[in-house]
């Protein structure tokens, strides 16, 4: 069996079972055909509306639910957050942050904008986070998102990203969170679990802000 590149073969599996691979220039990691048993890769990006001042701790600004009945987990490999302060906070330099949590205990979301994941290959499959399969992926418009039911979060966040230093109008900060295999393993959201970007601390009474979020993930059989 041969895998074709533009001008030659990039991998060949011999009848004996041996694998011929290629040290390529530039490197090429084979992921298989995304419509025929390979890895399905997805991405999405969206921006909140203007988030009002003084939202309580634990408000939800971006999140998703993986249906309990699907087979494959969602393996998050990249999460980018772009923060912009629109109206200055009462105390521009003060503790404020957003954090990523995993949880469980609910199956639907509401009260924002529902997002439909994009397969990086348009001929590929629907994401388990998309409405066609029954998952949920949402971003806030002007207030907190809502999970149906009583969601339970893990005690610790995967990361807490500080925005302490960007409390004046027009201040901007960008964070790239990468979770690829080279750094251990993707963040894995198994069927029946959820994830959410929340504020660990209440936001002060003056400032308004927005975030843009980009997420990349794949959906494939667990590596173990």
């Amino acid at each position: 069996m041969k895998f074709q590149g533009e001008s030659g073969e990039v991998l060949e599996v011999e009848d004996t079972g041996s694998v011929l691979t290629a040290p390529l220039d530039p490197p090429f990691t084979l992921q298989g055909n995304p419509t025929a048993g390979g890895v399905a890769n997805f991405m999405i990006s969206a921006t909140t509306g203007i988030i009002p001042a003084a939202l309580g701790a634990g408000s939800i600004f971006f999140g998703g639910v993986v249906p309990i009945y699907v087979t494959n987990p969602v393996q998050i490999k990249r999460l980018r957050i772009q923060w912009t302060t629109i109206v200055a906070f009462s105390v521009p330099v003060t503790r404020r942050s957003l954090a990523l949590y995993r949880g469980y205990g609910t199956d639907t979301m509401s009260n924002g904008t529902r997002l439909e994941p994009l397969n990086k290959y348009s001929s590929g499959s629907n994401s388990d986070l998309g409405s066609a399969v029954g998952g949920h992926l949402w971003i806030a418009t002007t207030t907190t998102l809502v999970f149906a039911g009583a969601e339970q979060y893990e005690a610790n966040a995967f990361f807490e990203s500080p925005f302490t230093n960007v409390g004046n109008a027009g201040n901007f900060a960008e964070r790239d969170h990468d979770f690829v295999e080279a750094f251990g393993q993707p963040i894995t959201i198994n069927p029946g679990e959820l994830f959410a970007i929340r504020n660990p601390f209440v936001m002060d009474a003056g400032g308004t802000w927005q975030i843009a979020v980009e997420m990349e993930w794949n959906e494939a059989v667990r590596p173990d």
Partner: protein, 218 residues
């Protein structure tokens, strides 16, 4: 115990027996390609969904796909916006299909190989192969006949750079280790578009460069 990964179309992608060795041989997947360019000074008030860069992959590419691995956007405000800090001002990278864009300035024909001595013909983005790459000059490109996906693949926030000279650069990388390239079929395109309408005063420019390779799927 053998390790078997089932593959396409009917055989195994990998079948490594307990005593099976893995050999490495020099083979080529095809060469990397790249182009870059910049818009003119874009007029104020470009409406929501206005395309300022469109690259269409030729309908003639057959089973060859474009595997986009990097897009770099460099934005500069030329004339200040009415409200320099405006919530929601942003650009998006979208995928679409259906037709080529019109207007603006088309990229000159070229093979766009990173290695001029490399094998492989013209890129399927090249107009010689019925592809099309163009940048806006002052107004949004014509996008009649193009259907874009609803959501952006990526977003570039610009709320904070509305004063004259405000600049912001973003590099979007899609290598295999990070969930893989964006893959375009024949006739599909990648575009940079305004998401909300830009306000009535601010003018701006955008540089776009893109890196990719062209190959059939395994």
């Amino acid at each position: 115990m053998p390790i078997i990964q089932e593959g396409f179309p009917s055989g195994n992608q990998a079948d490594v027996e307990p005593n099976g060795g893995v050999r490495v041989v020099p083979l080529s997947r095809g060469y990397g390609r790249m182009f870059g360019g910049m818009t003119g000074t874009l007029a104020a008030g470009i409406t929501a969904g206005g395309a300022v860069f469109v690259a269409r992959f030729s309908l003639s590419s057959g089973s060859v796909k474009a595997h986009i691995e990097r897009i770099r956007l460099v934005y500069t405000t030329i004339t200040a916006f009415t409200t320099p800090v405006t919530a929601g001002r942003r650009l998006g990278i979208y995928r679409g299909s259906g037709a080529a864009a019109s207007g603006g300035t088309a990229q000159a024909s070229g093979p766009w190989r990173k290695d001029s001595l490399g094998a492989g013909g013209d890129s399927y983005f090249d107009d010689a192969q019925t592809g099309d790459v163009r940048y806006s000059t002052t107004a949004a490109l014509g996008v009649g006949g193009i259907t874009f996906e609803t959501d952006a693949l990526a977003t570039m926030s610009l709320s904070h750079v509305g004063a004259a000279g405000g600049a912001y650069e973003r590099t979007y990388e899609f290598p295999n280790g990070f969930c893989g390239p964006i893959i375009l079929n024949a006739g599909e395109l990648i575009a940079v578009r305004t998401i909300p309408t830009m306000d009535a005063v601010g003018t701006w420019q955008l540089a776009v460069d893109m890196e990719w390779h062209e190959a059939v799927l395994p």
